[in-house]
Symmetry: C2
Subunit: 204 residues, 2 copies
């Protein structure tokens, strides 16, 4: 599996280590703001050594974005296949939100980098990632249009963007070692499903 599931042990070597520390630095400091010398320091190497594993700084970022988008796409299709055909719309939504969140927390820097780093990535790198991003976006749009068929195209887009805004920001404040990711998913879905309108006769 390309998905990084190793714990960040000191035993990690070479290529994988570069990828992990670079992803974290790109996420927290930004792409242009992170120099190869900083990456090399964090990976306990010299800058030149990075070029033994990657063609360029751009290629390194490109691979990081690939890993991240692959992780969430895999999570999405896995959630879909685990759902029975009799699942309600809300159950489908919750399964996919939980899948996205789990992928987000399991591969933090790789997936989260898409939110913050992508917009400012060099044009070449950005262009290479666009098809994967569009594909993932389409998966969500498709699912949402099925479970909420009454929504217009603007409302559909806004719902997706609002949902992504809530999910992706969670990585910045939610402590997944304390709280349950499934509970978080339930809260997100619950809020989005019922809306803000005063509940007339809700249970619990």
């Amino acid at each position: 599996m390309a998905v990084v599931e190793k714990s960040p042990m000191q035993t990690e070597h070479g290529r994988d280590r570069i990828l992990r520390v670079a992803a974290n630095l790109f996420l927290t400091k930004g792409y242009a703001e992170t120099s190869l010398r900083t990456i090399a320091d964090a990976a306990e190497m010299r800058p030149a050594s990075i070029y033994h594993h990657f063609d360029s700084k751009d290629a390194l970022l490109s691979e990081i974005l690939d890993i991240g988008m692959h992780a969430v796409t895999t999570a999405f299709t896995a959630a879909r296949e685990e759902l029975g055909s009799e699942a309600t719309g809300r159950q489908q939504l919750q399964a996919h939100v939980a899948g996205h969140l789990r992928a987000l927390f399991a591969n933090q820097a790789f997936t989260a980098a898409h939110v913050t780093v992508f917009p400012f990535a060099p044009a070449d790198v950005r262009a290479a990632s666009v098809p994967q991003r569009d594909e993932y976006e389409a998966l969500w749009t498709d699912m949402l249009s099925h479970i909420a068929p009454g929504l217009g195209s603007d409302a559909l887009r806004l719902t997706r963007l609002a949902l992504f805004g809530a999910m992706n920001s969670a990585v910045q404040w939610f402590d997944h070692t304390e709280g349950s990711v499934d509970d978080l998913a339930a809260t997100i879905v619950d809020t989005l499903w019922h809306g803000l309108a005063p509940r007339t006769g809700g249970t619990s």
Copy 2:
């Protein structure tokens, strides 16, 4: 009567022009990715001239962020004062969403820069903007907690983040010269207010 429009005409000079072109460049290309030479080119100046108006590149960014946050904060309080005390929760929400959106489209680069540029701004600049950001965030949290008193603190935060995600992303796809900003606000509020659940039979 003299025309007092301050549209971004070619007649714009010096300081204001630097601010506007820099804000647009920071928004589209990123802070570190935009050099002072690029800004100077866009403002039809030489790089050294910028230092006649601003102490440093950081100071320039700091002022841009200030302008943007001031615009949305002003829009928020203006919307609140225009509301009568008998306004429903939904009317309050809609007025503030419309205010935020109008401020966003009127000062595009300045306000939008907060979304994309702020996270990677130099630590000093970021620290200087944090209080204003927190203040604006608190305005929304406070309002949301009043119009949806049933929400827990996590749900409240998620609602705010989802709302911001929807509103702030609009700047990237909504054409405010064609569609009405008020209609957009209505769509956002409608979606968030009623939720995704199949509507039972309520009137508009």
